[in-house]
Amino acid sequence: MDSLIKVEHLSKRYFIGKDRSGEGLRHKLDFWVKAPFRKQSNGKAGKFAEGEEFWALNDISFDVKQGEVIGVIGRNGAGKSTLLKVLSRITEPTKGRITITGRVASLLEVGTGFHPELTGRENIFLNGAILGMSRREIKAKFDEIVAFAEIDRFIDTPVKRYSSGMYVRLAFAVAAHLEPEILIVDEVLAVGDAEFQKKCLGKMREVSGKGGRTVLFVSHNMNAIATLTARCILLEHGLLRSSGKTEDVIRDYLESGHQKQTVYRADPVLERPSITRAEVITSADNAIQHHAAPLIFEFDIHMPEGQHGKTFSFQILDSMERPVVHLWQYDQERPMLRTSGTHTLQCEIPCCRLNVGKYTVRAFLGGAPGQPVDEIAENLCDFEVVIHGRPTLFGWRPETCAYLEDAVWKV
């Protein structure tokens, strides 16, 4: 199979520091007026003193094949948006070369070009044209788009009177009915309610699966990335940090984010209860936990004053940040935290059944249902589960399951 997109040594430079766009003509006039009197001391004569340069993309190379769905992940400022902008020809690269075969449509933001004064019907045509559809194409798909967006009653109402949900649904509906060979999608799923997000994911899957469309998909939603893509690239500070199987790249991404810590400590907060320490006590050193051995968690809670009705719970999350275990303790069931000072809560799992892999902890401190939450603390203590002395034919792998259960077989 041929590559539809071939990116070679792509780099993009921006100048930061002084925002010269707003400076106006004065600077430039001033520069030219003074030019004859200035000493030609450096090679930059005739140019402005450049601001600090910043490489938003630095020597990126990758290939996308026909029908492939590729995820692009990275933290804010890693260069994802710049990459998509260069790919969709909105801005030029500074160095390098991209070869694209086929028609490209990019959805860098749903609803681009929507005009609030125009009706839904008018905006469908306008937005379609902006995204590169011909009038005939839009006409042919018009009913489908309206049905998908579920706005048929309001089709002749100006979109400024739409609810934000309707607006987003309409915008996504137009975009989803594009039929280019290559689709570039940025964060469309960050919008809309859960129900509509599900529908969008379904549509995306349909587009990439059935249509044989090549899709480049940027998102912070790891679940969406994991379900939609098989391959991913990870950008970090403009560099290509890793690329390969989605699972591996996501794991790399999540690990790159936080420093590994087995003990969490924080100063007590004066005005509300807070978590001051969290610690995992694993069965071996260096935060290594043997499967089926006991696993102990300890939390210090600081209470500025004693309270009734406190609740505390924590989750164990796997390396994809999916919660695997949830454990809790309520004052109503067993009195706790009723006096001021620091209290230690200990929780022991007698036989840890977690599968191999890396895990972290998220804790919640609050009141009864409906009461405000005092604290949600993330990435508290990291540990890794290993399995020794239990043979398996295929090797232990974290992606097969989250949890190993004792079971009795009859064959």
């Binding site: 909105i90 690269p93 070369r97 075969t101 990019s106 004064e117």
Partner: protein, 276 residues
């Protein structure tokens, strides 16, 4: 399937083909601006008429009655309005085009298309007002029972010249305005001065008779002088001819303005998304 290569500094080989491919978007943008223009206004299209109408009345009183400029036997309101047509179109196009890229910033930074279609569609929108004014001119001529000659059939040609003049200057100002927002403030000056410098309220013969032909050649460096003279010649039935050499200079400047405008716009449009 078409293969596209994106590289630094690569002059877009398929620019004009792309421009043609995006002609529908061009139409849609113009259509959007026309639709939006008079939504939620009480008197709607009348606004297009009001400004040139009032200017015409004021100019007729000041230049025709008070100053007593000659009109060559033409009713003074018609003389003024024949010039108001291209001038108003020119002025509206400039103000429409100059802010068009900045006004469509979200579009520019999110989607690719040849950026040229944005100011061009702004100029097309002014063409609507132009047609309304043209209708009013017809009414005015009926009122004065003024009969034009065969030369009226050449009006589309001069309209084309007006279009080229507006687009050429418009492209320069649009591109400059993206980088230097100063032009937002410069433009009203250009338009206000231009209205008095160009022969709108008076006939260009006044200038020629008063200052001689050398000065008039210089005067014709203003491309709108030629365009306005052309309009008057086509619409009015008097046998007053434009001064053809100066007319040629004006039209040549229209051509240079358009060519250089396109060149400059294309040179800068690649960086629009970065600096907007």
């Amino acid at each position: 399937m078409a293969t596209l290569i994106i590289e630094a500094g690569r002059t877009e080989k398929h620019y004009w083909r792309d421009l043609w491919r995006y002609r529908e978007l061009f139409g849609f943008l113009a259509w959007r601006d026309i639709l939006v223009r008079y939504k939620q206004t009480a008197v709607g299209v009348t606004w297009a008429l009001l400004q040139p109408l009032l200017t015409m009345i004021v100019f007729t009183v000041i230049f025709g009655k008070l100053a007593g400029f000659p009109s060559g036997g033409v009713p003074y309101p018609i003389l003024v309005f024949a010039a108001m047509l291209p001038w108003q179109f020119f002025a509206n196009s400039l103000s429409g085009a100059s802010g068009s890229i900045v006004g469509n910033a979200s579009l520019i930074s999110k989607v690719y298309f040849p950026r040229l279609i944005v100011p061009a569609s702004a100029v097309v929108v002014s063409l609507v007002d132009f047609c309304i004014n043209l209708g009013f001119l017809a009414v005015l001529m009926l009122w004065y029972q003024y009969v034009p000659t065969w030369r009226l059939v050449l009006l589309p040609l001069f309209t084309l010249a007006a279009f080229a003049a507006a687009l050429g200057v418009g492209l320069w100002i649009t591109a400059l305005n993206v980088k230097y927002r100063d032009f937002k403030y410069v433009l009203p000056f250009i338009i206000q001065f231009g209205l008095y410098i160009s022969p709108v309220g008076f006939s260009s013969h006044v200038v020629r008779e008063k200052f001689g032909e050398v000065v008039f050649m210089l005067y014709s460096l203003n491309p709108m002088v030629g365009v306005i003279d052309g309009f008057r010649w086509a619409i009015l039935s008097g046998d007053v001819q434009p001064y053809w050499p100066a007319f040629g200079v004006s039209l040549a400047l229209v051509g240079i303005g358009l060519a250089s405008g396109i060149w400059f716009f294309r040179k800068t449009e690649r960086t629009f998304a970065d600096i907007i």
